[in-house]
Symmetry: D2
Subunit: 341 residues, 4 copies
């Protein structure tokens, strides 16, 4: 049974494992102060095009979200998130467990804009309510849509005008930046958001997210917060070596391109066959709406999530591709769809 | 420069990397529900000799301590710890950050006993004070001493009589269990403590601690707590594969034995040369007291911690060995000491 | 300018102040262990008709909500609340600050029912999401509607079947129980909910809410939680004396009846004049929808909240009456409306 | 049985109750925005001699300590306290429950000095440990000793040099400032500490502590923190009226002088009779060391705490006087001691 269930089903890209082997017997400092982590961080600064960034490697998305948000906010300050935001529902209240409310904003396509932010600010007016302070977005969003440059610029300006922090969850950032529709560069992120992270786990690494802190006032003492939240790995080299390998050349982007290309093949096929999608998603996740009968057929040979019920006879499914998705598996899946129609 | 600074300076034992490579391209479930993690857990249950255990793999010591303690306690309940306890000083208030006070007990040799526990209980008598509920110990302790069976049995009985939970930090448990002076077995731990963990990071793995929950009432919903604290790795296989390899045969214990043997060579040499130790430690950490002049000399070629000032002319240093410590490096170090005397 | 802005604008009913004076020079124990608090608690148990209740006096609604909810839940457990719930928006994230997420359910009339609860349970299915555990309701609701016996019985049954705790915020409970449409008694609450509180502050006292814990498993160590959250007043007598006076005879209910009667006069008048209401509220808060022009006129002489915009020319206002509302003020207000029409 | 057990056994000074009665039927704003609270705050600013202070009224010591400390610190920052500090043991982990560790410093006389602070800073050096940020003192201390001006100036300077916040718990501040040995004025506190509070509950009020925030950076959004922690009383007038009455003239200080005078009578008598004291305390608490036989005798007619065992035949007791302590009760107690000798 082949799986399109998620993008963390496989191990690491072989080059990363190879790099781990090669560096395995060197004695290096612990807790992310090793030479590999340092080099990886320098490399990322170059790629983003700013020397004045603080970059930290953390183990996963939830860990990064909770550590950063708890570090950035004072106790009475709250997060604004789209209702589809990962932190809102799918992280077991990790942010609330650090004491902060998340204000949910109903959106259609997973994306927040200035009007959403203003509505949240207008409804939180005094000390009997939390004070909105950080805007959480992800790119791509939970439902695969991506922010373009103009959208992010407008959102960024709105945040600055209202003294809000803009934080981008980039668990699948590679896929967003490599989307055929993307016009954002890493350098734009360094300029437009206060902090963001570059997800390794879902794009070729075994583990690791690179949190980039752009705003000066958010940098101080961040390693204290990491240690306090259990996010400072003793053998930090594990992540340093992998990120160094991912960004030493263009491997990170090549892997994301492959994932997007595989999703594109699937998307095109469903479109050609006349199926609609729950949402327009030009990244590595697609959400076609299929007859339940067809879904049942496909489930015999493939693993994926049935995402939501659309009507009595149709549901949307989620198909996720990754750096490791095999083109022949995609083609076989397409063939199976055709046969099932 | 050779390092005796800690036991997480190197990568993983090659067999573990090899196992990661071999399993790398299989598609498996995420979040620790993969076949490798399941097998590793089954194996650990067999080694401990109880089928009714809950076992979870987490990324590191601080993460494990904070997740377990926060899950086990109600808000007003507190931890009792020796003043040398790692959670007390060296985890950046990770336990307090989850809301729980740690009651510090002054001890000489790093070990808690029933008298200590009773003193803590006697001084916490009503609702104006926290309620002591969990006794935190580590084996070996932070200063390398180990609990023997009789000591642990007495402590366990005291905890049971006073409805206290007994939790053992086993970041270096391999070294304790393989000490020449040890008379405890994994099966004893399953019987005598409410929860403990088996440290992988400091004994051959790149990452990973196996938390063993023995007491029934502590098991419920533990994965919720892991997820909430950022401790549920998407690619849980990373730890599953390694633990499976460590415990598939006796590798875990062989590695710890090697570390202890290397520490023993150093200990014997310092003893022979007439030096005293800060504390008696039959595990992979030793704390010889040396003339500052000698320390300065050794620092030219070796990396280690100067632990504490003893008098105007002497300090204790900490030397840590690991599965990867090379016997020739130890012998060279011994030679250098002899020459420096 | 007369105020219908809220029900905490005045001081205490004179009998309560008198009782404070009379008992003022007695030396009594602190922290709620005084004879007055004990008597008040005994009296409340009698009124509710159960001897096996734990009752505690706390200073206000937010303090009571946060202390109780934090005491009752484990870290990963969440609250279910109507979107109008006071804890959701109007307590500055007090519940989230103790680490717990509140799941918001959209409702029309401020009231939760079994279908709402089931929907919340159905959408929280595994450890990647919080675990719904406590259902928060208030009676009357934030918008003045009340639960009848049948509704509360159904909700209670649903909670029991799903192992959820049912918690009732009773900041204005007097008004609910004295509503002409009410068929619930204090004894019903003791039977149908796991914990509730009887608000004193908004019904004649200077300060004080009586939290009633009905479920055995929620009682243990509750005073620890109170102390930890700053809710154990040194001079607990301040609340004990007042509750004793409120419940010594029927004063508590007489005060609530008066408040309801005053609200009824206003309600009838608006109805007669042909105005509609935002919501049907048979308690001491009413929400008539008025032309903005009329609102502007009334604001010249009266203080009240403009609650929400209804259309371009109409808004709803909130009028709150209390034990201290003067009938002549209500009649004058009614006269002013008539004149303004 | 007459009680010297604590200073919160009685109600309020009659003038305060009278003021509550007089203002009882006025309609005023809630949540501390009433005219009485505003006037009380203005008055306090005048007494302290600075217009640029933020002052808030809270219900009790623990509530004030936890709200202020949680508002002032970031998650990884810790409190330094004397081992006798009230927050360390006697507030059920209230500060830790907000996430912050308290570093305990062993002191003899309850007072912290610069050397203590430096020792704490020297032992907290990197991100594996909490970052000391706020120094908590109380005046008088838990054991009745008081800070003189020179001591406070030195401590203040040390805090400024090390970027530490200095916070003074003033639950019994009246007693300290009215001690015959005191040379500190309210104006000195406004200059030397970053925040402090003036305790009303233990000096004539039914409830209420006035928190004075001196440092600009600590003022922002403080009412959000109060609301979040349940510290914003709906009928804030309850405290405003009382503080206004206490400080309208010199009542607050007269009450404290009386308490001190009563303690002085007791102190002199024990001295004359040749008894020693556990600690030198020139405020309203004394700790004479008495033969256990005498203690047993006194316990027949008086209520007080047996504080600590001194040797097999002697213990220290704590006697507390207050604004309400009757001179005839003190004289009778003295007579009883004489008779018992």
């Amino acid at each position: 049974m082949y799986s399109f269930k998620n993008d963390y089903s496989e191990g690491a890209h072989p080059r990363l494992l190879h790099a781990l082997m090669e560096s395995n017997f060197e004695q290096v400092d612990g807790y992310g102060e090793d030479c590999y982590t340092r080099q990886a961080i320098e490399l990322l600064k170059q790629k983003i095009g700013r020397a004045d960034l603080d970059i930290h490697l953390l183990s996963g998305g939830t860990q990064t979200n909770l550590t950063a948000i708890a570090a950035f906010l004072r106790p009475h300050e709250a997060v604004i998130s789209a209702n589809t935001g990962h932190i809102l529902v799918h992280e077991t209240g990790a942010v609330e467990a650090t004491g902060h409310k998340i204000i949910s904003i109903e959106v259609g396509d997973g994306k927040l804009n200035a009007a959403h932010i203003k509505a949240a600010l207008d409804s939180h007016t005094d000390e009997h309510m939390v004070k909105p302070k950080l805007v959480y977005i992800s790119n791509p969003t939970e439902i695969g849509s991506i922010y373009n440059k103009q959208e992010l610029e407008q959102l960024s300006r709105c945040c600055q005008e209202n003294k809000l922090l803009l934080f981008m969850d980039g668990a699948r950032l590679g896929s967003a930046l490599c989307s055929v529709e993307n016009d954002l560069k890493l350098a734009d992120l360094g300029r437009l958001v206060d902090a963001f992270y570059i997800g390794g786990t879902k794009n070729g690494a075994l583990i690791g997210e690179a949190l980039v802190i752009c705003r000066e006032s958010l940098k101080e003492d961040f390693r204290f917060h990491m240690k306090q939240k259990g996010a400072l790995l003793a053998k930090g080299r594990l992540m340093g070596v992998q990120f160094l390998e991912l960004f030493r050349d263009n491997l990170f982007f090549e892997l994301a391109q492959h994932a997007n290309k595989m999703a594109g093949l699937l998307r095109d096929e469903f479109s050609k066959a006349g199926f609609k999608f729950l949402v327009y998603s030009p990244s590595n996740q697609i959400f076609p709406i299929l007859p339940n009968r067809l879904i049942a057929e496909l489930e015999k040979h493939y693993d994926f999530y049935v995402w939501s019920k659309v009507d009595a006879e149709h549901s949307s499914i989620r198909l996720v591709t990754s750096w490791a998705t095999k083109e022949e598996a995609v083609l076989a899946f397409i063939e199976d769809i055709k046969n099932a129609l």
